[in-house]
Assembly symmetry: C2
Homo-oligomer: 405 residues x 2
């Protein structure tokens, strides 16, 4: 017996099972095969298939002839029948994607996030950028299901509010979901950034591990978690907060501000360290992001500057130590790395983190943890937010999460 099964949602579960079967089959799948696999009644399957055909999400294609009986019509996904927009709001960079029903990226863009402290300006930019990427993609606007936003937490998932992310100054209880819905005239969904990234990894990563942590290196640090192929969202959609993990004291600089990973391994802190060490010029006052300073620091380290390399390598070691805690607590066998600041340090950080995690005497299990970058790259959170729009719209009760205008 499974406790916690939400029985009134079983109808929705049936539909997701059927759609998932159709999506996964490269050559389509027949109603009889669906019945054999799922145990659902022909009536239920016919109803669901009828709805999906009427909506144009699937098509009856070809005939599958098997033995002497009646040939079977195959149900196939129509990948270009619907689209979703994904927006990733990072304090430094905003990313936009358009994906099709199978999750393929149709269009992509990035812009610098407007100055902090002005949510209204950010929302205005966001709405304009959504229109711009739709225009550039050539996608028929009537086929766009909605917009998913990946935002730093904490969020209020139920009400679609960005509560007060520490790295988005001036943002306090901003009703981002409804504001963007009003501005674009489209349904909008809000998800925490690192959990959106984990969703993308599950949608698009194919046969990889179902039990993984997603280490997200943005302006802040997040650690999204998936077990059994499901993203762990927690009670209010705010799981994945990795910044308050306490790191071991050994090896920390004497000037440490705290023992928290969310200070000691963020790009902003590392740039501060480099400025203190005389490696970089002090940043221009009032600039909310660290991305140019961070790129300079990485370039110094890659060019052979040992002081710069030391600052970065120590951060990698602290990340590894924190991941030992997470791996022990949740018994994941894979860690995926991504986020807007990850790519440039990937080659340097991965071997250090791997050595710490797999060499740690504190590890509880013996099986090695596989570590690697997300195949989706910098777009991962935006893609995940768009995947969630598809997930939600394809279930029979989109009203629970999507707000129309």
């Amino acid at each position: 017996m499974r406790r916690g099964t939400n029985l009134p949602a079983v109808g929705g579960f049936n539909q997701t099972v059927i759609l998932d079967l159709i999506r996964r089959s490269t050559e389509g799948v027949s109603r009889v095969e669906i019945a054999d696999t799922t145990g659902l009644s022909q009536q239920t399957i016919s109803n669901v298939a009828r709805r999906l055909l009427d909506d144009g999400l699937i098509t009856e294609a070809g005939k599958h002839i098997q033995g002497p009986g009646k040939p079977r019509m195959m149900l196939e996904l129509r990948a270009r029948s619907r689209f979703a927009v994904g927006v990733h709001l990072d304090p430094a960079i905003m990313t936009y994607v358009v994906i099709d029903l199978r999750g393929a990226i149709v269009a992509h863009s990035q812009v610098r996030t407007p100055e902090a402290g002005r949510p209204a300006e950010v929302i205005e930019t966001m709405a304009a950028s959504v229109e711009a990427i739709l225009a550039a993609s050539g996608v028929d606007r009537s086929l766009v299901i909605g917009v998913g936003i990946a935002s730093p937490g904490p969020i209020d998932a139920t009400r679609g509010i960005v509560v007060d992310p520490p790295l988005l100054e001036g943002w306090k209880d901003v009703p981002l979901r409804d504001a963007l819905a009003t501005a674009t005239g489209m349904p909008v969904l809000l998800e925490k950034d690192v959990n959106a990234a984990a969703v993308a990894e599950i949608w698009l990563a194919g046969t990889q591990s179902e039990n993984f942590a997603f280490f997200y290196l943005g302006t802040g640090i997040g650690i999204g978690l998936a077990l059994g192929g499901e993203v762990l969202r927690g009670a209010t959609g705010n799981a994945g907060e990795g910044g308050t993990l306490v790191v071991p004291g050994a090896g920390l600089p004497a000037s440490r501000r705290s023992e928290k990973l969310g200070h000691l391994a963020t790009p902003g802190y590392l740039v501060d360290q480099a400025v203190e060490a005389g490696l970089l010029e002090p940043r221009s006052a009032g600039h909310p992001s660290a991305e140019s300073g961070f790129s300079d620091l990485v370039a110094l380290a890659d060019g052979g500057n040992e002081l710069a390399a030391g600052i970065l390598d120590r951060a990698a070691g602290l990340i590894g130590a924190s991941l030992v805690t997470v791996v022990n607590l949740l018994d994941v066998d894979r860690v995926v790395f991504g986020g807007p600041f990850w790519e440039q340090v990937s080659a340097r950080f991965l071997p250090i983190i791997a050595a710490v995690v797999n060499g740690s005497p504190d590890r509880v299990t013996r099986h090695p943890v596989e570590l690697g970058g997300s195949g989706i790259g910098d777009d991962v959170a935006a893609v995940g937010a768009a995947c969630l729009v598809l997930d939600t719209a394809l279930s029979p009760r989109p009203s629970a999460l999507l707000i129309g205008n």
Copy 2:
């Protein structure tokens, strides 16, 4: 679409849904109601119900008359039709329970764990104690489905092996599951202790939160996790390791051996602290457990000894600080406390932990975390292990986890 749905198991899922419906209904449920609620075909429901009736797990009882149509036979659970034994192997204390199909405790016993370093002796004691509690309970042995063992981790869940728990000296790759199956002639299942405890909490706690951490104070410390009413087991069944959480440095004694919760808040360490402070006599050499010393320490503190109270209260503070990390990472809204050493410190620890967790500036979400002891008490891990036997046996593929003789 749900990623990670294991399609070949959907038949099993259907059966668990039907059984769960029957179990939860106090007055039984009709086949038509099952069809309406689940969308499953009459054929599937009839097949499942037939199998359950044949096995005697449910009964057709009474008739539900609704309007002018044909009266409906109600399907009801037969609580006393099957039983399961639960064993909890703690380094200090072994607990045994017999539960019925609804999870009610029929019999209970506790014995001190034999000296460490002798797995064979422990297994012999375990087998004898299983026979003894069955005899004492008066339950017909042919109605006992099997035995569940809750063991300290790490375990190899697939092979039923206790790998090398740090607090069970001399235990290395012990095939506990198969050894007890051979000794008792019954199918046996092995689960990590803290995850078994979380299973019990879900089975028996009724309408409580579906998103919780189970803080387990045994000879070691575990933190089991459940989200959406499902226990998080991780890739190999070893999730729940809380001992390697790093605690903040502030307030630690200068003599600290490490910064890990698994040292600094365990009963054994606290007894050591009390001995160093001259509060307790040095423990007799070679004794693996700390339980008598710990009870003495608690009695001193409760009697007004400030030094003893200080040792305990500091541990409670560290537990609270660690739980802030866990609450942030997984967004749970409840922490349940239990384990063999919990009861005696519950009144002292709970207010301290609650103040730290709910007063922490590091908390990401605003909603208060509810904290309280498990209603199941010291038996919780043993009860959970027995619940798992029922779970597994009632699913159509028990061979995956249960090993017969």
